[in-house]
Subunit: 300 residues, 2 copies
C-alpha cells in the first residue's frame, strides 16, 4: 500500500436524463480509492453501517484496495440522493442521511500510518487534521473540503490547510475560500494560506493547477455522452494522487502536470456509466489511451 | 490587403464593475479588424453615420486598416449599451439602436473582391451570402452568426454555412444550431451542415476547434483582471483569421491550432481595458509573448 484515502463510503440514489438508480455504491472515498487503484496500492479509512453489502466490499477488494480501515458500525450507511437537470449542469439534493457517518472518527490501522501518500476527502477539518497527525512519514498530503466547512469552520480549516501539499477544490469553493471572484487572484490568496499547490476543478471545463511559480491548465475531456457526473471530482482527486503515489513523486512540476491529466482521465471515465460502474471494466490500457488523446487534442 | 472583414462598426456604452464608459468605439467588425491588423493587411466593409468621429477612423487607419469599404450614410451610427453583472458572467442589454446599420447593404470596393481571406461578422445570413458571392478568388471564408438568425432564418443560414470554411460561434449558439446539448454531438451535426471547420467559443473557458478528423481545445487565458469583456469573441475571430491570412494558410490542422491560440491571445488582451483601448498600445512582441505563455501553461 502507498496511498491512504479517508472519506465517505455511501449509498447513492441518482437520477440523470439517462436514467435512475435507486441505490448504488458511492461516496467520495469510494470514487477516489477506485480511481487511484489503477495507479497504486490504496487503503481506505471510512465507516459503513450494517447494511453495507458484501458484494460492494468484494468489488473494492477486487481492485486491490485494503479494507482494514473500513469500520463497520451499528446503524445504516450514509445515504445521499440527488437529481440532475436536463443539461446536467445543476443537481438538486433530494435526501442526505448521514447515519453512521455522523459520528465518523477516522482510526488508522498501524500499517496505514507508515504510508507516504494521504488523500483527505471532504470531512470536518479537525478530523482531517487528526488523521494527518497520525501519519508518521507522510510525503505528500492532498485534501478536499466544501462550502459548508469554509463557512462554518473557517479558522479550523485554515489551520488544517497549512499542513497540506495539495488542496483540491472546485472553482466556487476556491472563490469562497479566498473571498474573491477572479480565479487567478483567488489562487494567489489561497497559496498564501499554506498549501504548496492548489488544484481548482472546473467540472466539464477541466482543472487548473496553481503553484507559486505559475499554473497549468488541463481542459475537460469532451465526452459523447455524460451518463452520470456523480463522483467525477473525487475520481479526479484519486487519479491525481494515485499517479503521484504510483511513481513515488513529490510535488515536481512535471509530475504534477501529468497527475492533472490522469485526474482528468479518471474523472471523464467516471461519467461514462452510472456510479462507479465504469471502474468495473476499465483497464490501464484505456487510461493510457485517453492520456494520449489529451496530448493529441492540446498540442500546438 | 489580404483579409476582408464585414460587420458592424458601432458606438457602445458599457458598464462593468470596473467602471463605466458612456460612448466608445465598438462593433464586431471593429474588434475583429483591429485584432487581425496585428497579423495581416485588413479592409473593412461596414456602415457608419454622420456622427462617426474622425479620430475613430484615424485610429483604424493608423493600424493599417483599409477604410475604402467603410460607407458613410445619413443618420446615426449603430449604438449599443449594456451592463455586466458583478462576476461579469452575464450582461444585460440596455439599448440597441440599429440606426444606419438597419439598412446595411455591404458593398465591396473592386480591390476587396480579389482578396483571399474573408471574415463575415454577424449580420443577416442572406447578406453574408451576397458578400461571399462578390469575392472572386476567396481561399478561406470564416463567419459568425447569432441566436436570432438561427431561430428566425434557419434555412437561409444553412444555405449560407455550406459555403464557409470556418464557422465561429459560441457554445450556446452551437447547441441551438444543432438542437442538442452535448457539444461533441452538436459539433458533429454542424460539420455535417457544410463548414469544414467549427470553432466553438466558450468565453473564459477558451475555445474548441472541431473538424472531421478530430478536435483541439484551447483553454482561456487566466487574466488577473477582466476590465471589459465586450468584443472578446470578435477579437478572437480577428486573431484567428488574421493569423491564417498573415501566413497564407488554408485549413491545415497545425495552422488552425496556432490560429486558435492567436485568437485566444487577442481575446484576452481585449478584456484588459475598456472597449478597443488595449489595441492602441499592444505590440506584436506582447502577442508573441502571450502565445509562448499558452505553450508553457498547457504543455505536459
Amino acid at each position: 500500500m502507498s496511498l491512504v484515502v479517508v472519506g465517505s463510503v455511501a449509498y447513492d440514489g441518482v437520477e440523470t436524463p439517462h436514467g435512475r438508480v435507486e441505490r448504488m455504491l458511492g461516496g467520495a472515498c469510494t470514487y477516489a480509492a477506485l480511481a487511484a487503484s489503477f495507479f497504486t496500492q490504496v487503503g481506505v479509512v471510512a465507516v459503513v453501517g450494517e447494511d453495507f453489502e458484501a458484494q460492494d466490499a468484494e468489488f473494492l477488494a477486487s481492485r486491490g484496495i485494503d479494507l482494514a480501515g473500513l469500520e463497520r458500525a451499528p446503524g445504516k450507511t450514509f445515504f445521499w440522493a440527488g437529481v440532475y437537470s436536463e443539461d446536467m449542469n445543476e443537481r438538486t439534493t433530494l435526501r442526505t442521511e448521514l447515519n453512521v457517518f455522523a459520528n465518523f472518527q477516522p482510526r488508522l490501522p498501524a500499517a496505514y500510518r507508515r504510508q507516504p501518500y494521504l488523500l483527505l476527502g471532504n470531512i470536518q477539518p479537525g478530523l482531517q487534521r487528526a488523521v494527518r497527525a497520525q501519519m508518521e512519514a507522510v510525503r505528500l498530503t492532498g485534501g478536499d473540503t466544501m462550502n459548508y466547512w469554509i463557512r462554518e469552520t473557517r479558522e479550523e480549516l485554515r489551520e488544517t490547510l497549512k499542513e497540506w501539499d495539495v488542496l483540491l477544490i472546485n472553482d466556487s469553493e476556491a472563490r469562497m475560500l479566498a473571498g474573491c471572484h477572479n480565479l487567478r487572484q483567488a489562487a494567489q490568496r489561497i497559496l498564501e494560506m499554506g498549501p504548496g499547490t492548489l488544484v481548482v476543478k472546473r467540472g466539464e471545463y477541466g482543472a487548473i493547477l496553481f503553484h507559486p511559480r505559475g499554473h497549468f491548465i488541463a481542459p475537460g475531456y469532451l465526452l459523447e455522452d455524460v451518463f452520470d457526473p456523480t463522483g467525477a471530482g473525487d475520481s479526479f482527486a484519486g487519479g491525481f494522487m494515485g499517479h503521484l503515489a504510483g511513481c513515488g513523486a513529490g510535488a515536481e512540476p512535471g509530475e504534477l502536470r501529468r497527475a492533472m491529466i490522469y485526474g482528468s482521465v479518471m474523472g471523464s471515465f467516471c461519467c461514462e456509466r452510472f456510479g462507479v460502474d465504469r471502474f468495473r471494466t476499465l483497464t490501464r490500457a484505456e487510461i493510457d489511451g485517453r492520456f494520449q488523446e489529451f496530448q493529441s487534442f492540446t498540442a500546438f
